[in-house]
């Protein structure tokens, strides 16, 4: 199955029986309780899949649910959110059905996450080398010496200058770029099969970002790891990812190979997003609606109908299905743009 999101998707049980996916989410739903008592839906049924060795980009703006998705895949949606439905199948098992103990064995070992703000992620009172080595001791059962050796190898692999000295450095002694390298070392030391990068390069300078991206690609390729690369910088995904999915308001609206997504974008939201990067106001205004359209549509309307310049009555009445526009290129729109 080459499509990211099954257009004519068989029932869930049938998919999981045959698929070669490393990780797959099926109809993943997350809700947040609100003060009014009515739950707010943050993820509206996410179906996506990643094959071994593949880098899947996920782009969207703040509030689209990117971080909620990343955390929910690890079974820990950000508080007070809770998973209201769906499954996350990783190496054939539903992560959401595992016990906390089983999950702990998986996270950090087979599934790893790299987050932004690396210095906030590191323990300020523990030396870098020890923080990295702890992962190998806990998950790989190495003794102290072997774990430290492995941590040192990792620091070299992430190209931290002067790794001998950095082993004994505290996080505040590292620059942002070096701290991000250390966090990557922690994430990759156990050879995880799947790495989630949640905006991991957003706080870095461009030249450092380029180095970190090269490094992540090199290390994941060497280990055959797959990656979910979450970012709001569409430019990165055009060069770094094999496939790209676009998230809008908790729903994936389009997904395709990177060439198809950038050369023949079909969903009006994807077009708006790309036009925003073009620095050409005429293009962006073409995909914007100046005023919010009439009454909010029915609950089963297209979620983008109110902001969509192509919206027709049917968009407010009927939610479009995720459908395959071309092999591997899926879009959730009644009126996708054809190139």
């Amino acid at each position: 199955m080459d499509t990211l999101i099954g257009a004519a998707k068989p029932s869930h049980s049938a998919v999981s029986a045959t698929s070669a996916d490393l990780l797959r989410t099926e109809d993943l739903r997350v809700v947040f309780p609100t003060a009014t008592g009515q739950a707010r839906t943050v993820l509206r049924g996410i179906d996506l899949s990643v094959k071994p060795g593949e880098v899947l980009g996920l782009v969207g703006e703040s509030g689209a649910g990117k971080t909620t998705l990343a955390r929910s895949i690890l079974g820990v949606p950000p508080a007070p959110g809770r998973i209201a439905g769906g499954r996350v199948i990783f190496e054939g098992r539903n992560i959401l059905a595992l016990s906390e103990k089983q999950l702990r064995l998986l996270r950090g070992r087979r599934l790893a996450m790299v987050v932004p703000n690396p210095r906030g992620e590191l323990n300020p009172t523990v030396k870098i080398g020890d923080q990295i080595a702890t992962m190998a001791r806990v998950h790989l059962g190495l003794d102290r010496k072997a774990a430290r050796d492995r941590a040192f190898e990792m620091l070299k692999a992430v190209q931290i200058p002067d790794p001998e000295r950095r082993m004994n450095a505290y996080p505040h002694e590292l620059s942002g770029g070096m701290a991000q390298r250390a966090v990557i070392a922690i994430a990759l030391i156990c050879d995880p099969a799947f790495v989630i990068s949640d905006d991991a390069t957003s706080g870095l300078d461009v030249t450092v970002q380029a180095q970190i991206l090269d490094l992540m690609r090199k290390l994941t390729a060497e280990h055959g790891s797959a990656m979910l690369f979450i970012t709001r910088d569409v430019g990165i995904t055009a060069h770094f990812c094999d496939r790209v999915a676009v998230l809008y308001d908790g729903e994936i609206v389009e997904a395709a190979s990177r060439n198809a997504l950038f050369l023949s974008p079909a969903h009006p939201y994807t077009l708006l997003l790309l036009a925003a990067f073009s620095h050409n106001p005429a293009l962006r205004l073409g995909w914007s609606v100046t005023a919010a359209a009439a009454a909010p549509a029915a609950s089963d309307a297209c979620i983008y109908a109110d902001r969509c310049p192509l919206a027709q009555p049917i968009c407010r009445a009927e939610k479009p299905p995720m459908a395959e526009l071309a092999p591997g290129h899926v879009v959730r729109c009644h009126f996708p743009v054809r190139h």
């Binding site: 257009a7 004519a8 703006e61 703040s62 200058p161 620059s175 942002g176 770029g177 070096m178 300078d205 461009v206 030249t207 450092v208 970002q209 380029a210 180095q211 709001r232 910088d233 569409v234 430019g235 990165i236 995904t237 055009a238 060069h239 770094f240 990177r258 060439n259 950038f262 050369l263 023949s264 974008p265 077009l271 708006l272 997003l273 790309l274 036009a275 925003a276 990067f277 073009s278 620095h279 050409n280 106001p281 293009l283 962006r284 073409g286 995909w287 310049p309 192509l310 027709q312 299905p321 459908a323 395959e324 526009l325 729109c333 009644h334 009126f335 996708p336 743009v337 054809r338 190139h339």
Partner: protein, 347 residues
């Protein structure tokens, strides 16, 4: 209208005799209605330059002179309201307990503007940045990040400044909100002939908003020149390396450069002798480690601090990548004239 000459700024380090050399001999000028893009990595001193220009920080040495409309000669300090600043973090730069109408009006306190005039001026400023007048009594927390930054721009523009220093005004924003703010700033510049010092680490934004560009590294402007010329044929290895790290949202368009920068910016506490880039530069020769290359003029208004700028320019093919991207974007992203046909998936 603004001339900055040989600016230096050193910050003392508490408990030490050492100093942080944030700005090391920076000179540039900005003409009325012009945008100078100041680009560089964190720690390069961009923000310090901006703060010195608006007068929030005193330079250690060097001169900042304004030649504003109606002035016979340069002044070190402009009249109130003629030079304004827009901050990076829109949420943090607004008082959370102040209604946005009052926030926008605040700079008028320093000017001799009649109280009765304030309301009209605030409405005009809100109109200028396309903020709904209904938001006059809203608090910052009720606004989106893009709206908050519009408040920041309105607050700066209400005094009708001749120069606005924009310190990373869009880096905290989502792509669509960022594009709206950039368009807004360009429109205001055309309407009012306002000059901008636009500080950013985002090269593609700099490319599209600036008339001229100054590339900063470790407190120095290593290259400055016309935006299109500098981006199509950078002559300093650092400019070239920075450009090669730009990732355009197009899978087949890559910025070509013989330079890929390794490592990170050195500490501004113990400045290297010689050229500051020597430790990261693939063009380095012995001479670079011993002496600082002087500024050389390589074209009209184009200067560069590099002994080997000719070789850098020669090995960098004149790049039309940005132009190619603009054309590609137009081709791919133009809204079709006719409504696309209803798509009915095959069962």
């Amino acid at each position: 209208m603004l001339t900055v000459e040989h600016l230096r700024k050193q910050f003392p380090i508490a408990g030490s005799r050492k100093v942080v050399s944030a700005i090391n001999d920076v000179s540039f000028s900005i003409a009325p209605g012009e945008t100078l893009g100041l680009v560089g990595e964190s720690g390069s001193g961009k923000t310090t330059v901006g703060r010195i220009v608006v007068g929030l920080i005193e330079p250690t040495s060097g001169a900042v002179r304004f030649n504003l409309a109606g002035d016979a000669q340069g002044k070190a300090r402009p009249p109130n309201g003629k030079v304004q600043l827009v901050f990076q973090e829109p949420a943090e730069s607004l008082d959370p307990r102040m209604k946005i109408g009052s926030t926008i009006a605040e700079p008028l306190q320093a000017l001799a503007v009649e109280r009765t005039e304030w309301r009209r001026r605030v409405r005009d400023a809100m109109g200028l940045v396309r903020l709904n007048p209904a938001l006059l009594d809203a608090y910052p927390a009720e606004l989106s990040a893009g709206q908050q930054q519009r408040v920041g721009v309105a607050r700066a523009m209400i005094t009708e400044p001749e120069l606005v220093v924009l310190d990373e005004p869009t880096s905290a924003l989502d792509p669509t909100a960022r594009a709206e703010i950039i368009d807004l700033l360009k429109r205001i510049q055309i309407e009012r002939n306002t000059a901008y010092l636009f500080i950013s680490h985002d090269l593609s934004t700099i490319r599209f908003i600036s008339h001229r560009v100054a590339v900063m590294y470790l407190g120095m402007i290593v290259e400055q020149g016309d935006a299109a010329a500098l981006f199509s044929r950078p002559q300093h290895p650092y400019s070239s390396g920075l450009l090669s790290s730009v990732l355009l949202p197009h899978p087949n368009l890559v910025m070509e450069s013989p330079v890929s920068l390794k490592g990170e910016i050195p500490s501004p506490i113990d400045l290297p002798t010689g050229c500051f880039l020597a430790s990261r530069c693939p063009f380095v020769i012995d001479r670079c480690r011993g002496e600082m290359p002087p500024a050389e003029t390589v074209g009209p208004g184009h200067s560069v601090h590099c002994f080997r700028h000719n070789e850098v320019a020669a090995t960098t093919p004149a790049s039309k990548t940005f132009e190619a991207y603009v054309a590609e974007a137009e081709r791919t992203l133009m809204r079709p004239a006719r409504q696309p046909a209803r798509f009915i998936p095959q069962p």
